[in-house]
């Protein structure tokens, strides 16, 4: 049975500088965000695991036309390969490209208190 990684626990971890994911006990899947069951095999015994806080940029884009609620333009968003899982976040500081090494550098929060991890080049 899943030990139940929740959005709240995942968010608390991001705020503490940790990244939590779910590792499937039945197949090789590890996901970077909470799931009640493995998206690939359906098994419910997902174990909450600490993901590495350093990884490699899998893909990225710089967004110049933001949604309502975000004032800045030209911010970068990346999906980071953390080894067993991938995770999306903002990128601080210098612009990074696919294959570049990055590390967790903090988090950003929207007006409803939902958080996204921030990464920066290392």
């Amino acid at each position: 049975m899943s030990d139940g990684l929740t959005h709240a626990a995942w968010t608390d971890a991001v705020r503490d500088g940790r990244l939590l994911g779910g590792s499937c006990g039945q197949c090789d899947t590890t996901v970077g965000t909470p799931k009640a069951a493995c998206p690939h095999c359906g098994a419910r015994d997902l174990e909450t695991v600490d993901l590495p806080t350093e990884g490699v940029v899998y893909t990225e884009t710089t967004i110049n036309v933001p949604p309502e609620g975000i004032e800045e333009r030209g911010y970068q968003v990346a999906i980071v390969d953390l080894g067993d899982a991938r995770l999306l976040g903002r990128v601080d500081g210098e612009t990074v490209g696919v294959g570049d090494d990055v590390a967790l550098s903090g988090y950003t929060e929207d007006e409803q208190g939902y958080t996204a991890p921030r990464f920066e080049a290392v």
Binding site: H7, V31, G32, T33, K35, P39, H40, Y58, T59, E60, T61, T62, I63, N64, V65, P66, P67, E68, G69, I70, Y75, V77, I79, A85, R86, L87, L88, G89, R90, V98, G99, T108, E109, D110, Y114, T115, A116
Partner: protein, 388 residues
């Protein structure tokens, strides 16, 4: 054996409309009913698509509202929402219903308004569109929909060397096709130089890589195979596949392969007893130029990694070996979210009847439509054939 037949097809011009949703849908619905030669009292059910009117126009429970406007109140109406794949999913369910004998004659279609006529500006509508990305694990980072497809396309560029110039060729082709389509949002050709000179929205996408915000509606009359021959111009529905993938993007196994499209295409081709090689043309979901390249590969129209070169070499032009988006696609025809999937079927119907005018694919016998929703985590693929 066909699963069903489309016997009437209609749509509004896509573009900017200052009319309410029910009036827009009514125009498309009457167009389809007139094409089929039937009236509202002949219709047994309405399969209706609208994605965002609750957010964009404070308008929900649209089913009976639009049915009332077109003289169909009383019949069952079901509303579908699957982001940009909304009305293809309605179509899938309409086909299943007539095939199963639940109803003999149904109308399926969709309507949406996305332009500032809704009262929503670009930043507000960008936020509403972004509601299709994951609320907890994508939206807080400021991800937008150009951003979603930029992430998929950037990885494809890394894997295969796809270039910004190849993306521009998709835009040029689709604007050229749209210029021949009187119902297209954009009726003007463009050039690779102009496309590459536009402002960046979310790199690698510049303005001309992105479809517009559009208003519009589309509608189809669908009947069972048994009744197809009692109409003047039936077109066969040979197969409809529908699949989903994991959300958010980061949890997908290989985001740029758009696995749901591959699974849906496999299902549709299998039902139709055909394959990608047999398609005379395709209408694909080019919300962004990169999305057309990913779709051309996922549908098997070109080999993996060849989507960019195929666009650049003209293979996907109307006179190429794998014509894609003769309508102009979402890029030029426009993209009123909930109307897009059924409008792709309208385009297939017109070509398969030989009635597509200047943009007609000569002697088209079989074609495929690809309509995706969200980050491609919903995809519906439909194969249609000229009636035999």
């Amino acid at each position: 054996m066909a699963r069903a037949a489309v016997v009437g097809a209609g749509m509004t011009k896509f573009g900017v409309h200052d009319t309410p949703l029910q009036e827009l849908f009514g125009e498309a619905a009457f167009d389809a009913l007139d094409d089929a030669g039937i009236g509202p009292s002949d219709v047994e059910a309405l399969y209706f698509g609208n994605a965002m009117s609750g957010q964009a126009e404070n308008e929900t429970h649209l089913g009976p509202k639009v049915a009332s406007y077109v003289g169909m109140a009383g019949i069952p109406v079901q509303r579908f929402e699957d982001a940009c794949a909304t009305s293809a999913n309605a179509f899938k369910n309409a086909v299943a219903a007539v095939e199963a004998g639940v109803h003999d004659v149904v109308v399926v279609g969709g309507v949406e308004r996305c332009t500032p006529e809704t009262g929503k500006d670009t930043d507000e509508m960008t936020r509403i569109f972004a509601s299709a990305s994951h609320r907890q694990y994508e939206q807080p980072a400021g991800l937008t929909f150009p951003g979603v497809f930029a992430l998929l396309t950037k990885r494809h560029m890394h894997e295969y060397g796809t270039t910004e110039e190849q993306l521009a060729h998709v835009a040029v082709k689709n604007h050229g096709n749209g210029a021949l389509n009187p119902r297209a949002h954009f009726g003007k050709e463009t050039t690779v130089e102009e496309a590459l000179d536009g402002p960046v929205v979310a790199d690698p996408f510049r303005l001309m890589d992105c479809c517009p915000f559009s208003d519009g509606a589309s509608a189809l009359v669908v009947t069972s195979e048994a009744y197809a021959d009692s109409y003047d111009a039936p077109v066969d529905v040979a197969g409809v596949g529908h699949a989903t993938d994991v959300v958010p993007i980061a949890d997908k196994t290989t985001p740029h392969v758009t696995q749901a499209a591959r699974d849906a295409a496999g299902e549709a081709y299998e039902q139709a007893g055909t394959g990608a090689d047999e398609m005379d043309f395709a209408e694909v979901h080019d919300c962004f130029t990169g999305a057309e390249i990913l779709a051309s590969e996922a549908l098997g129209l070109v080999a993996d990694g060849e989507g960019g070169p195929a666009a650049e070499e003209g293979r996907t032009a109307r006179d190429g070996d794998v014509p894609i988006n003769p309508s102009g696609g979402l890029k030029a025809k426009g993209h009123p979210i909930g109307a897009t999937g059924a409008a792709q079927i309208v385009e297939l119907v017109e070509h398969l009847r030989g009635e597509a005018g200047e943009r007609q694919i000569p002697d088209a016998e079989r074609a495929v439509a690809h309509n995706l929703g969200g980050d491609a985590a919903t995809t519906v693929v439909s194969v249609m054939e000229a009636h035999r």
